[in-house]
């Protein structure tokens, strides 16, 4: 019976398809910014594997279409591919399609030129991003050459751009400056990595529209454009990792309204849970973590405006490896001399439980944006955003009867108001002026580390850009005033208000005159006011076993940077060379000082914030070569030198040389499996030999003598890692399911990384396999 119905159905379907392949899919394309028709877009129907280009009137058409579901992808230079879904039942499909250049039109002005980029920026998107799914933002960004991570154990990754991090880099989450307690080395960015459709890193202060203090660079976390499809669509992401048995589940649904033209929304959520991580030889006790995030985006696109409301909440709980939380310097020396954690820490079994020491962070963001296109061809945009970051750090309890309260509890609220006017383009020239105002309030409970304070920052900027076929020139000027007031509860000490102000400027020139080659040179002069922790921190840093003291007399850092970028691209080759040189005067850093601070737990090294003149120079090189359409190889080199000019020695805690080589093979499409690829990646990280030769830290030598060094331990040895990944796409119900499998540290290499704060205590994670699924619907 069943078979009969099935056959009947088949016959019906077959008849239908023969009989009714008479429909068409067509549309007209216009540019949301300029209202002009788009003439150079290509349109693909994935199910039929048919593509076409639109004509000079922006019109395209596919004929002889059978009833069914179709995915239409519109590709246009400088835009994200636009995906549409057409259901053909009994009539043809026709739509007027408006193409938006990017969700944040601001970014377009400075980051991208039409043909070549003026600014040295690198992106992580599509398949590269898919292979990092499940990992945190900081860990994902390590894929970009020149970006490394300041690590605290296996869960906390903080991005470093060419040696600079924390308050020297700026993260723009959804167009809003991420403001939390970003000064701390163990404070990772509080952003759900799944909300990013693209991660962009701008190295150096090559754009001034986001803030003057980003001496190191800017990270843009950009979400996907809202759908234009009035049917429900979305995706489910699943990822499972073998090492810490981490499971990640992410879902998003979106829909454009049928009733209100131009209105669309998206809801998304991510849940993540990991247990103890494992080094090649032992479990890392209390290294589990969990994360729970939700976000909501509402957008209304009208003929002349785009309005957007975005809300997100991120919360996590991260266990801190038990063996890293030490009582005093004796414990630290014991941990270092033993070379591995003691048996009572090592000999544990896997669990998901998270105990003290741990940290809990919650970050909320509410953003309202309005973009208005003007009749003269220009536009203005206003963004109002509020953020609240609540960080709690829990040390180990002294007694089981001790209070459950955290030791450190910091709440920081920030309001940002940004306004920008983009002048209409006139004879190859574009320009924008903007105003930014920020207000911040910090309040703490329990132990003092940084005081309560309020802060206001006002900035104005102007950017002008010239662009023709061969050359792009960009100049920017910015003025900022930072005012810190109401500094209270500083354990009895009284501090007055503080104010810093100055100009920043930059200039960039890029040319494509030479065949296959583009060359760019950028120069900038920027500054950064000392951060709150650099001026006022006063307390014990657990795990680091040191007492950190701020200095209220610090002055602002001043940075002059030049960088150059060379890109050579042919069918076979793609070579990208970036060289930079930065002079940072009054560079603020932590210096071990003498004598140590005496406490009831013995003498702790005292680290004081000091200023020096620093010089950073280095190069990042990427070269890829396509042997055939299927087979390609890539090599990456990242080298950095950082020098303390005053003390005539190297700066501490800087990334060591890093080299990578990879081979990528793309297989032909099979019947079910499409876009198949396999990739092997080899990483060599050199030992950091450029460290200060001497310091004030007492180190007991094996022969019993005491020497004074800049660190408790010499930087760990060089290491080699082997990673691999494979990926494929399976078509299922008219949608492509993406499957990616990755293998990290395949050889289960035992190693320690210099930039991991836990290098004193334990090895890095051993081999880690993962499977990731992306199921769109």
């Amino acid at each position: 019976m069943k078979n009969f119905i099935f056959i009947l159905l088949l016959v019906c379907l077959a008849q239908q398809s023969i009989a009714q392949c008479k429909f068409s899919i067509s549309g007209e394309l216009t540019d949301a910014d300029t209202k002009a028709t788009i003439t150079d877009a290509s349109i693909l129907i994935t199910e039929l594997n048919q593509s076409t280009k639109c004509n000079t009137k922006g019109y395209f058409q596919f004929d002889s279409i059978c009833p069914g579901h179709y995915n239409i992808i519109i590709n246009h230079e400088g835009c994200e591919p636009l995906k549409l879904h057409a259901i053909i039942k009994n009539k043809s499909w026709h739509q007027a399609i408006v193409i938006t250049h990017a969700i944040n039109n601001l970014e377009n002005i400075t980051v991208k030129g039409k043909k070549n980029k003026i600014i040295n920026s690198s992106e992580l998107k599509s398949s590269q991003l898919e292979s990092t799914r499940g990992m945190s933002i900081g860990e994902s960004l390590q894929k970009i050459n020149g970006v490394s991570s300041l690590q605290t154990g296996t869960n906390i990754y903080k991005p470093i751009i060419n040696g600079l991090h924390s308050s020297r880099i700026l993260i723009l989450n959804n167009g809003v400056r991420q403001e939390g307690q970003q000064w701390g080395a163990e404070h990772a960015p509080e952003i759900d990595a799944y909300t990013a459709n693209k991660l962009t890193v701008i190295k150096g202060a090559n754009t001034l529209q986001y803030g003057a203090d980003a001496i190191g660079g800017i990270i843009l976390v950009e979400p996907k454009l809202l759908t234009k499809d009035s049917n429900f669509s979305g995706e489910t992401n699943l990822a499972i990792f073998s090492n810490n048995i981490m499971g990640v589940l992410n879902g998003s649904i979106e829909k454009a309204s049928k009733k209100i033209n131009g209105f669309a929304y998206r809801i998304s959520g991510t849940a993540k849970k990991a247990g103890y991580a494992r080094t090649p030889n032992y479990w890392l006790q209390n290294s589990g973590m969990q994360e729970l995030n939700t976000s909501l985006l509402l957008g209304l696109q009208k003929k002349n405006s785009i309005s957007e409301l975005y809300y997100s909440i991120y919360s996590n709980e991260i266990g801190i490896f038990t063996g890293s939380h030490i009582g005093n310097v004796t414990d630290l020396n014991n941990a270092i001399n033993n070379q591995y954690p003691p048996d009572y820490i090592k000999n544990v079994t896997f669990t998901y439980a998270i105990d003290r020491p741990k940290q809990k962070v919650q970050h909320q963001l509410l953003k309202i944006k309005h973009l208005q296109y003007l009749r003269n061809g220009g536009n203005w945009q206003a963004v109002v955003a509020g953020q609240f970051n609540w960080r709690r750090e829990y040390d180990r309890k002294k007694f089981s009867s001790s209070s459950d309260a955290p030791q450190l509890d910091l709440g920081i609220g920030t309001i940002n108001i940004d306004a920008i006017y983009n002048r209409p383009a006139y004879k190859n020239r574009k320009g924008s002026i903007g105003f930014q105002q920020m207000y911040q309030n910090n309040a703490y409970n329990y132990r003092l580390f940084i005081p309560n304070y309020q802060l206001s920052n006002t900035g104005i900027f102007a950017i002008e850009k010239y662009e023709d076929e061969n050359i792009i020139v960009e100049v920017g000027l910015r003025f900022d005033k930072k005012y810190i007031f109401s500094i209270t509860q500083n354990s009895g000490k009284q501090y007055g208000n503080k104010s810093f102000s100055n100009f920043s400027s930059n200039i960039g020139i890029s040319t494509t005159k030479i065949k296959n080659t583009s060359i760019g040179v950028m120069a900038s002069s920027t500054w950064r006011a000392p951060n709150m922790n650099e001026m006022y921190s006063d307390g014990l840093h657990h795990g680091a076993a040191r007492i950190e003291k701020g200095d209220t007399n610090l002055v602002a850092e001043k940075a002059i940077a030049i960088s150059s970028n060379l890109n050579y691209k042919t069918e076979k080759w793609n070579i990208d060379v970036n060289a930079y040189h930065k002079w940072i005067n009054y560079f603020i850093y932590l210096q071990p000082s003498y004598p140590p601070q005496l406490t009831i737990r013995g003498a702790f090294p005292l680290f004081v914030f000091k200023q020096t003149n620093a010089r950073l120079y280095g190069t990042d090189v990427n070269a890829s070569y396509h042997f055939t359409h299927h087979f390609s190889t890539e090599a990456k080199i990242s080298v950095l030198y950082t020098f303390n000019q005053t003390a005539k020695q190297w700066l501490i805690n800087m990334p060591s040389n890093r080299y990578e080589a990879s081979a990528n093979y793309t297989f032909g499409d099979a019947k079910i499996f499409k876009n198949n690829y396999a990739k092997v990646n080899y990483i060599y990280v050199a030992q950091q030999k450029r460290v200060p030769a001497s310091g004030n830290i007492e180190v007991l030598q094996p022969n019993g003598s005491i020497s004074y060094q800049s660190d408790y331990l010499v930087p760990p040895n060089a290491y080699n890692l082997l990673d691999a990944e494979i990926g494929t796409q399976i078509e299922w119900h008219h949608k492509n399911i993406l499957i990616t499998a990755t293998a990290n540290n395949i050889l289960n290499t035992k190693y320690r990384e210099y930039l991991n704060a836990f290098r004193y205590f334990c090895d890095e994670m051993g081999s880690n396999y993962s499977i990731k699924l992306k199921i769109p619907f």
Partner: protein, 188 residues
């Protein structure tokens, strides 16, 4: 088609439950602050005369901030036996917190160690024990012999769930370990 709908439903459930789960967004009402160990008092009672001498180390603002304000020299008579009892205090609070009681209550997780420096003629023994019969050491007996001087280090270790007989001093984390290798001690 049905399966697609199921995935849709699944995703909606995920998103909804995630939203619902974020209920712990409230700040807690004020909880007690953690105990801070600021002070150790060494009470030494001459077993013959019952005369009590107290020697103090105190850093009332805790780790960081100002340096310790009192670090006494222990003066002892030669060839004498003293009964030692320790009191551990939190003087950053008013009223002063007594931490000794908590250490005794959770004695199975704590242990004091006394380490006289070489050449100082004092030996420390008879440490009292916890509920499991393992050494605790908030009371002990100090026995001096000939005139000498040196240092006595007093260490408090926290060993939750890992305390065992004959533990080395390196086991656990350190709650107390005095600077400069301990109290300067003169026997005369």
């Amino acid at each position: 088609m049905k399966t697609t709908k199921k995935i849709q439903l699944f995703s909606i459930i995920i998103c909804a439950s995630l939203t619902a789960n974020l209920s712990s967004c409230k700040k807690p009402t004020s909880q007690n602050e953690e105990e801070l160990i600021t002070t150790i008092k060494v009470n030494l009672t001459d077993s013959a005369t019952n005369q009590v001498n107290t020697f103090v180390f105190t850093d009332p603002d805790g780790d960081g901030g100002n340096n310790p304000i009192q670090f006494d020299t222990i003066k002892l008579k030669a060839n004498t036996t003293y009964n030692c009892s320790l009191s551990i205090l939190d003087e950053s609070k008013t009223p002063v917190g007594n931490i000794t009681d908590e250490i005794i209550a959770e004695g199975t997780d704590h242990q004091f160690y006394f380490t006289p420096s070489a050449g100082l003629n004092v030996s420390v023994g008879n440490l009292n024990t916890d509920n499991n019969g393992l050494q605790l050491g908030n009371t002990a007996k100090w026995t001096t012999s000939g005139n000498s001087n040196g240092r006595v280090q007093i260490t408090l270790k926290h060993k939750p769930g890992i305390k065992a007989a004959g533990d080395a001093i390196t086991v656990g984390d350190t709650d107390i370990e005095l600077p400069n290798d301990g109290f300067y001690t003169i026997i005369q």
